[in-house]
């Protein structure tokens, strides 16, 4: 009986130590990937508060499954796909919202009012063209535009062959150029 209690306490302490280790790893993943998740959601929703809300929800889901997502690449890929899917679902459930946040002017280099207006108009046209892309082309376009991801990183995030990502990205840019001309 005493041996069983001792074993149980040992197991419990091991479990608690493992939970603390998982929490530390999750904190590291959170610091590393929070902006990525937010930008993925923003690429779909283009609404800052909605994008933050979706990203928070995705992180909460990731935390519940973090035991199977400890690997860095696996975590990021899962987080990107989950955030994208949740953002798409949010967008479909909120189709009536027509007012979307415009591109942030503070990130652009333009200083004059006319330049700012021109940038705003150009960005609006760009998003309109991106929205017109099929979902498969849109996701590779957005992911390639975040944090200077190259084809290999986009392929890792989407779990697709690099050749598939390369061809989809080429096709997407061709269509965007056609739409923007």
């Amino acid at each position: 009986m005493i041996d069983e209690s001792t074993n149980w306490l040992t197991d419990a302490s091991v479990t608690m130590a493992r939970d603390q280790e998982l929490d530390r790893e999750f904190e590291a993943r959170l610091i590393e990937s929070s902006t990525l998740a937010f930008r993925v959601a923003y690429g779909v929703l283009r609404h800052r508060e909605d994008a933050e809300d979706v990203a928070q929800e995705a992180f909460a889901k990731a935390y519940r499954s973090f035991g199977q997502l400890r690997e860095r690449d696996r975590f990021r890929a899962w987080l990107v796909r989950m955030t994208w899917r949740m953002a798409i679902n949010r967008l479909r459930s909120d189709r009536r919202r027509m007012v979307r946040e415009q591109a942030p002017l503070e990130t652009l280099s333009s200083t004059t009012a006319s330049d700012a207006l021109a940038v705003t108009e150009r960005t609006a046209r760009l998003w309109k063209a991106i929205d017109a892309l099929p979902d498969k082309l849109r996701v590779v376009t957005v992911l390639a535009g975040i944090e200077e991801h190259d084809i290999r990183e986009v392929a890792l995030l989407l779990r697709l062959p690099e050749g598939t990502v390369k061809s989809r990205l080429f096709l997407a840019r061709q269509r965007l150029k056609e739409l923007l001309q």
């Binding site: 937010f38 652009l108 960005t123 760009l126 001309q181």
Partner: protein, 186 residues
């Protein structure tokens, strides 16, 4: 528009930073949906198993108990003294002859056939025994009667009357001539 310019414009459009409170909000959201603790699971599984075993044991025990006592029939083995219903008054005095089979409860097992008694007879006998123990019933007269019966001379044997004086029956022969046959000859 070339590829580089398009790529740069897309990157600029996506270069949006979350609010400064975003990380804190994520931590708060995560804390709300805390991961199920392994310690809790380690408690829950044995507790559920123990509860299941206890439930099954209780059900089996109750079923076994009901099988041993299938119906509320008054038996010698299961009849508690204090729960015996009061018997209705019997028309005659309680005969001690009925005490034989009742007074000696045998340690019978459940496999043996149960001996059934009329509850009224059992109650009456118990009342009689308790009355004797509590001196409510005076059995001295009964003992005197028993002793007087022992002192009386035995009954003489019944002597059969000899049958030698009785004359044997004589069966007379039938005489058809003495009778008149009606309705024709034989």
């Amino acid at each position: 528009m070339n590829d580089d310019r398009l790529k740069r414009e897309i990157e600029e459009a996506l270069a949006v930073e979350p609010s400064p409170h975003f990380a804190a909000q994520v931590r708060a959201r995560v804390a709300e949906s805390a991961r199920p603790s392994g310690v809790w699971i380690r408690w829950a599984v044995p507790a559920a198993a123990f509860a299941l075993v206890a439930l099954v044991t209780a059900v089996l025990f109750l079923e076994l108990k009901e099988t041993v006592v299938p119906k509320p029939v008054e038996t010698v083995r299961n009849a508690p003294r204090d729960k015996t219903p009061k018997a209705p008054p019997l028309p005659t005095a309680q005969p001690p002859a009925t005490a034989g089979p009742v007074a000696r409860p045998s340690p019978a097992t459940a496999a043996e056939p149960e001996v059934l008694f009329d509850p009224r007879e059992m109650a009456a006998f118990r009342d009689f025994v308790e009355g004797v123990r509590e001196d409510r019933i005076d059995i001295t007269k009964l003992l005197e009667l028993q002793q007087a019966a022992a002192r009386t001379s035995p009954i003489e044997e019944i002597a059969l009357m000899p049958i030698g004086d009785v004359e044997p029956l004589v069966i007379e022969s039938l005489s058809f001539g003495a009778h008149r046959i009606e309705g024709g000859s034989l």
